[in-house]
């Protein structure tokens, strides 16, 4: 049995409710493994983990179609996995191996897989917001009912591209959903020190579009809000700004110990851990057994480890790769 493709993994997430938890556990396990690889000196440059924010990625992936375009950020491992990109392709890219989703050209900050609608994530804060508006323009021009989704951080809500992208989308009534993943910090700065409003969703008023504060720790809430916004978009009723309140358990990147956070803040957020909330819900619904999580974790852990080994066994790109895909025609 060959491993499922990204597209198949996406279908599973759509089809099976249990898969939400499995995938959430996979995201967290993969991020943990990436941190280990980093600590072992195997990951170059930087990594930006999303542990604690899994529900946002899962809820979005649950509702988006593969033909919708998702434009996310350098903190993009979670959304990539949720959309279906395999742990091998994710870790392979982060390790700079040919098995990576971009063959090692991109790295941790630049995951992509157009087969599941993941546009190459950018490492420039806010830059993807107009990109998503542009993907929505394509749907608008072609008259399809696809939509685009921009995912960005709270810090990105202060940069010009946010303002320009939202205004443009609003004035043209483009089918796009703007998802601000508010994890309370931009690098080492707490939101209140950089952002002149409490709720970023309130900025939607500047563009006469709905702005909704969403509990980003609850997959179902995220999914419901996303579904509603996507429906508006597809119906031609224009863009929506969703603010997902969430929290990153780790530092901003690499070895940031996040000492700038007030005592107890992390612990308080951990009490509303997105995986725990989801687990409880699934147990309640009878989708999983009360003690099933351990087994899932064990199984996923093994799979992630196998993926890590496969990525590590994959070769680095050959020299020629450096000269391929710069312009069309010099394809590899």
């Amino acid at each position: 049995m060959s491993a499922p493709s990204a597209v198949e993994r996406r279908q599973t997430l759509h089809a099976e409710r249990r898969e939400l938890l499995v995938r959430g556990i996979e995201i967290r396990a993969t991020e943990e493994r990436i941190q280990e690889l980093f600590n072992d000196g195997l990951v170059r440059g930087s990594t930006h983990l999303c542990i604690g924010q899994e529900a946002v990625s899962l809820g979005i992936a649950r509702e988006a179609r593969p033909s919708d375009l998702v434009v996310a950020t350098y903190r993009g491992h979670g959304i990539a996995l949720a959309l279906g990109v395999t742990p091998v392709a994710v870790m392979g890219e982060i390790l700079g191996r040919v098995v990576g989703c971009a063959g090692g050209n991109g790295g941790s900050m630049h995951l992509s897989d157009m087969s599941v609608g993941l546009y190459p994530t950018s490492a420039i804060v806010g830059s993807g917001i107009p990109t998503a508006a542009g993907a929505a323009l394509t749907a608008h021009v072609r008259g399809t009912d696809d939509a685009a989704i921009a995912i960005f951080g709270d810090g990105a809500a202060n940069i010009g591209a946010f303002h320009e992208g939202l205004n443009l989308a609003a004035i043209k009534q483009l089918p796009v959903v703007f998802v601000c993943e508010n994890n309370l910090y931009g690098e080492y700065s707490r939101q209140n020190l950089t952002t002149a409003v409490d709720d970023i969703a309130s900025r939607a008023a500047s563009y006469s579009m709905p702005g909704v504060v969403v509990d980003g720790q609850d997959v179902d809430t995220v999914a419901a809000a996303t579904a509603e916004a996507l429906a508006r978009a597809r119906a031609g009723d224009g863009p929506t700004l969703l603010e997902m309140k969430t929290y990153r358990y780790r530092g901003h990147s690499r070895s940031d110990a996040a000492t700038y956070r007030p005592d107890g803040e992390l612990e308080q957020w951990q009490q509303r851990d997105p995986l725990a909330i989801l687990e409880a819900r699934l147990v309640e619904e009878g989708v999983i057994a009360a003690d099933e999580r351990g087994a899932i974790e064990a199984q996923v852990g093994e799979a992630v480890e196998a993926a890590a080994q496969e990525a590590l066994a994959s070769p680095e790109p050959r020299l020629k790769a450096m000269f391929e895909h710069i312009v069309a025609g010099d394809a590899g």
């Binding site: 375009l69 434009v71 971009a102 063959g103 050209n105 991109g106 630049h110 992509s112 897989d113 157009m114 546009y119 190459p120 950018s122 420039i124 830059s127 917001i129 107009p130 990109t131 998503a132 508006a133 542009g134 993907a135 929505a136 323009l137 394509t138 749907a139 608008h140 021009v141 072609r142 685009a148 010009g160 591209a161 303002h163 320009e164 992208g165 205004n167 443009l168 004035i171 043209k172 790769a321 391929e324 895909h325 710069i326 312009v327 069309a328 025609g329 394809a331 590899g332």
Partner: protein
């Protein structure tokens, strides 16, 4: 051959023909639709192709150039109009750090078939924020191409090629030349190849390389004096090094004529390349005739001197060919008072 069109009309015709040929071509920019464009290049396109394909935008270059990147990545072929090249300054990230790199960093999964048309150039009294060429902004960015037509034929031929190109192309249109007329071969046969220059005047004493406005200046300067072979570069990135090398290997002398400042110009790139390839074969030191390293002055008397004039080019080329010695820029030799 063909029709005689103004450069503005040649651009419009190129847009029209590509929009007719390919439903994925869209035009967007400030006042390009209802008003027909601040320079009237897009006039009439809205009526013909409708508001889904001819799109007026808010004043937000980062927003709509960035949107063009996303549209290009999902199947459209956007042609973005930037009213004055300087305004790319507020959208620089979207072009240089996003559009130019997306193909590479996705290993070819996504491309960016986008054209960014922008007016360039001095001579009309628009002052130092509305008169530059700025091709240097794009030179060190693998992934981007830069075209600059010097006449109606290349306006038409290069613009159609740029729209068909699968990568981002910056397309520089000289605002002082929009009214110039020239013969255009319309239709497929008129489409030119990006990356190819052309010898527009044959000659034997010296190769004079120009682009955009300076091609005409060089051609006029060639009317008298030494026998000048004039090359129109047409594409600045990638530039046609073979054509230039072949010509200089015959003439033995190289002069570049640029509208932009001395520092950071394409002339240095051409001269450096030729210096390495034809070492020992040049009869004279290569000469870069450029504008000085100053912001573009507003006052007419100064702006006129800012640009290389026909007389200056004729004089400096004659001096080079006569003496085979280095010719200094005018601002180093002329008494400035």
């Amino acid at each position: 051959m063909g029709e005689r069109l103004r450069m503005r009309e040649a651009a419009r015709r190129a847009l029209d023909d590509e929009m007719a040929a390919d439903g994925d071509v869209v035009v967007l920019g400030e006042d390009v639709a209802v008003a027909g464009g601040p320079f009237k290049v897009t006039d009439g396109l809205l009526d013909k192709y409708g508001e889904r394909r001819v799109i007026d935008t808010p004043i937000s270059e980062a927003g709509f150039l960035g949107a063009a990147v996303g549209a290009a990545g999902t199947g459209l072929r956007p042609v973005v109009e930037i009213m004055f090249i300087e305004f790319i300054g507020v959208a620089f990230d979207q072009l240089i750090t996003e559009a130019a790199k997306v193909r590479y960093l996705s290993r070819g999964q996504v491309g960016c078939p986008m054209v960014v048309r922008a007016t360039v150039g001095a001579g009309l009294g628009f002052g130092c924020q509305h008169s530059q060429i700025l091709d240097g902004w794009f030179r060190g960015t693998p992934g981007i191409k830069v075209c600059i037509p010097a006449d109606s034929a290349s306006m038409y031929g290069l613009l159609r090629a740029a729209i068909r190109d699968d990568d981002p192309v910056v397309f520089l249109e000289h605002k002082a030349m929009y009214g110039d007329r020239g013969a255009v071969e319309v239709g497929e046969a008129g489409i030119m190849e990006i990356g190819r220059g052309a010898v527009v005047e044959g000659g034997s004493d010296v190769t004079v390389v120009g682009s955009g406005l300076t091609v005409g200046i060089a051609r006029k300067a060639a009317d008298a004096g030494p026998s000048m072979e004039v090359i129109d570069l047409r594409t600045l990135v990638p530039w046609d090094s073979e054509l230039v090398l072949e010509s200089v290997s015959r003439t033995g002398r190289l002069v570049t004529v640029e509208e932009g400042p001395y520092s950071g110009g394409w002339g240095a790139e051409v001269v450096a390349h030729v210096a390495a390839q034809l070492h020992g074969q040049l009869k004279a030191p290569s000469l870069r005739i450029t504008s000085p390293d100053v912001p573009i002055p507003f006052a007419g008397a100064l702006e006129e001197r800012y640009l290389p004039t026909v007389q200056l080019v004729a004089d400096q080329v004659a001096q080079l060919v006569t003496t085979d010695a280095a010719v200094a820029p005018w601002w180093q030799t002329e008494v400035l008072a």
